[in-house]
Symmetry: C2
Subunit: 182 residues, 2 copies
């Protein structure tokens, strides 16, 4: 692919808070056009987890998502803390949100929610054989319920279009294609 890197002529932070960092860049495009107002949302890396229990069920969640104003079916997910490796963050978030840990972990997929406006990437991990050995500790902004689901039920949810979080639907489809949900 041709290199098209844009040049940042100036940059200003509009919001800089723990849960939202918004930046406005003035950018020069390779063809000479200048855009005075390009907005970038800076986020830390995100992780999510396709976690299978020792008896082969998936750990799913019902979580209320305020921006959309509705409760959705999701997989466990969270934010990578400063200095933390994505894998360590995934193990920590699974334990905190669901009380499950252990098993075999592998990196499964890397995605972006929206590469035009989000500065971060989202890493999906596959966890095989996790067990309920820990205790849950929810963040102040979290409002969720944990459910164990059979693989066939997750496939039905995908087929009916009932999951809408793209960062979770894409890796679940990949898992389906690779035979992990059958």
């Amino acid at each position: 692919m041709e290199e098209r890197k844009w040049k940042i002529l100036s940059s200003e932070y509009l919001v800089k808070r723990p849960w939202l960092t918004a930046r406005r860049d003035k950018v020069l495009l390779p063809d000479g056009r200048v855009n005075d107002e390009y907005y970038v949302l800076e986020y830390p890396s995100w992780i999510n987890i396709i976690a299978f229990t020792t008896d082969g069920r998936l750990i799913m969640e019902h979580q209320y998502r305020h921006a959309l104003g509705q409760t959705g079916i999701e997989i466990p997910a969270g934010v990578v803390e400063p200095g933390e490796e994505p894998l360590a963050a995934a193990k920590r978030e699974l334990l905190e949100e669901t009380g499950y840990e252990g098993g075999e972990w592998t990196h499964f997929m890397t995605l972006s929610a929206n590469p035009g406006s989000f500065s971060n990437l989202s890493y999906t991990f596959l966890a095989q054989g996790v067990e309920p050995t820990g205790s849950r500790h929810l963040d102040a902004t979290e409002d969720l319920e944990v459910i164990l689901m059979e693989k066939t039920e997750v496939v039905k949810i995908l087929e009916r279009g009932e999951m809408i979080q793209a960062l979770m639907v894409a890796p679940l489809y990949k898992a389906y294609i690779e035979g992990l949900l059958s």
Copy 2:
């Protein structure tokens, strides 16, 4: 699923520009917790298109994405204008970005980039048998190159993890599962 709707106690706009609308809500959770600082990014609906030409190739794009600072492989995508239907927006964007139009169109999938922070949904349409009858008109912020790809090449790109835009990867996997890429 249990109803968990959060109550907005107060709300304030921090940024209100054509390309970024950021709001801070003070919210009351069903269990009585109050969160003083929940950020919502308001966006119009988005659309993207899995478009097959009359000879069965897919219309793909190389597009520079400034937030991530890299050029990615994508499908055509855009924003629904005020008063516009998502399908009309999809047809307009395909023509503007690629010069292709016509064919048979169906709604294929509905996703969210991130239901925790984004207020909008993204609609994917399937367009079968489009033809190069129009001329391109790029927006000021667009910097992209159109490429026609064989289905087998798109499958290889998915398998190699070379596409990272989750709102596009998820519907392409769905198309793969439904036999549309073979």
